[in-house]
């Protein structure tokens, strides 16, 4: 048995001296998680089974360690101007307590990272991908003038995700704040079981839920409490494997797979994060790209047979290669196999039939709209649509 292709990453033997640990590392070992090296971090890939963890999140709740994510704080009189310059989206309308999904682009319009911008009373918090955090921090620091202070607070910040239809009830049990009024893409600061924390109604699974920021030293106690209080609701700890199959069903792009510095937001289907009415790094290049017209576009594919499309597999049309799969897997919720892929604009319309080359054979696939899955009963009203 040898690996022919990889998506979520095969479990690597961990040489723990060179891999970073989150404050919840010992909790994962206690739960006998299968650990993997994810972007330099020792993270749980799965605890029991990716399928079971995936189902728990869709039907009840899942508990995620997201402490590897990077947090960059921007303060000072020049904070708004700096963040406006760095991100693709107009964040001026954000009021404290509001969150926006946005992108860092380079001068050529390529995507450096995707992130969440938290508007605070005295500045902004940028939550970035784990593997990009040093580069993102350097990028922000490099563009900061004397009136903006940029700090990387990743090391002192832990992040725990509770996602699923029962997540809000579970988090509410030990929260000092009423969480019901906290709408999607809003946050509130408060206490959880006596520990200072931030309740953020966000996630990367397509379900309702919260992401809870807390101090690293409080994280193990909060993690155990959530496991204990969530168990009667059906909550299970969930690893990066389930996180990947969940976000794929929800059509959420994964940085490094579905977008990178060689792709721009327009072709990645993220034009809604681009505000051409303001200045930001990469804007002139994106205006030119828009005027020139797109050549390719990220689409959803639904496989007709049981072949599993994976990152890097060629997409064919009439026997000729026309594109590439960027993410693909089984959809446990839908019962068929799905992928995201870059295809020529002429082939992006839903209903177009293409093929994915899987080990030399051509597997038929139909272009379908993204997301593949939308949760049936959104429990929030009027929240930001993402």
């Amino acid at each position: 048995m040898t690996s022919a292709a990889t998506t979520a990453g095969r479990p690597n033997p961990l040489s723990t001296s060179t891999v970073e640990r989150t404050p919840l590392f010992d909790e994962h070992l206690r739960l006998r998680a299968q650990m993997t090296n994810f972007g330099g971090w020792a993270m749980p890939l799965q605890y029991s089974s990716i399928r079971d963890e995936h189902r728990a999140v869709r039907e009840a709740a899942g508990l995620f360690d997201l402490s590897h994510m990077g947090e960059i704080q921007v303060r000072g009189r020049g904070a708004l101007a700096l963040v406006q310059r760095l991100v693709s989206r107009d964040i001026a309308p954000l009021k404290p307590g509001q969150i926006q999904y946005a992108l860092f682009c380079n001068e050529a319009g390529g995507i450096i990272d995707d992130l969440l911008v938290y508007a605070e009373s005295d500045g902004y918090l940028l939550v970035v991908n784990a593997s990009n955090q040093e580069r993102d921090y350097a990028w922000a620091e490099q563009h900061a003038g004397p009136d903006a202070e940029v700090r990387n607070v990743s090391r002192e910040t832990a992040l725990i995700g509770v996602q699923g239809p029962r997540a809000v009830e579970i988090v509410q049990r030990s929260a000092d704040q009423d969480l019901a009024p906290v709408r999607y893409y809003r946050f509130i600061d408060g206490n959880f079981a006596g520990a200072a924390c931030r309740f953020s109604r966000t996630g990367y699974t397509g379900e309702d839920g919260f992401e809870i920021f807390c101090r690293g030293e409080d994280a193990p106690r909060l993690w155990r409490l959530l496991l204990e209080q969530g168990a009667p609701f059906g909550l299970k700890p969930a690893g990066l494997g389930a996180r990947d199959t969940l976000r794929l069903e929800a059509g959420m792009r994964l940085y490094g797979n579905d977008m990178d510095e060689q792709t721009n937001p327009l072709e990645a289907g993220l034009e809604w994060t681009v505000s051409l009415g303001k200045d930001f790094i990469g804007k002139p290049a994106l205006e030119r790209a828009q005027q020139a017209g797109l050549t390719r576009s990220l689409v959803g594919l639904r496989m007709r047979d049981r072949s599993i499309p994976r990152h890097g597999y060629p997409v064919m049309q009439g026997g000729k290669p026309v594109g590439t799969v960027t993410s693909g897997n089984v959809s446990f919720t839908l019962g068929y196999n799905i992928a995201m892929a870059y295809v020529p604009v002429a082939a992006r319309a839903p209903g177009t039939t293409l093929e994915v080359q899987v080990r030399g054979a051509l597997a038929p696939a139909d272009v379908v709209p993204l997301p593949f899955y939308r949760r049936p009963h959104p429990s929030t009203k009027g929240g930001e649509h993402v």
């Binding site: 048995m1 998506t7 479990p11 890939l45 599993i308 080990r359």
Partner: protein, 127 residues
Amino acid sequence: MSDASGLRFLESHEWVRQEGDRATIGVSDYAQSQLGDVIYLELPAVGHRVEAGARFGVVESVKAASDLYSPVGGEVAEVNEALKEHPEYVNEDPYGKGWILKLRNVTANPKLLDQSAYQRLTEGEQH
């Protein structure tokens, strides 16, 4: 779960149970735990000839697609049809109902590992 007594193994984590010129093959418990949830197997047709140590199929798990190698040579007599509907049998019972192929006209392969040698191999991989 069925036990592994009397089985022999390839270093690439496939097992074989040989009875005369017939054999049953599958993947080890260690392999299934490393693969994670199995979702699909691409297997040869009955009558197809497989060679000892050569690739005969692919197992797709949520994590990855992995090649399968045959511990012995022979002709495919039977494919485990139950795995089409229940690929999770490979995870649940790798030495029992998660078997993959049955072969006939089997040729022996002296280079296989016995259970204790195989166990030492997997312990070496884990640490």
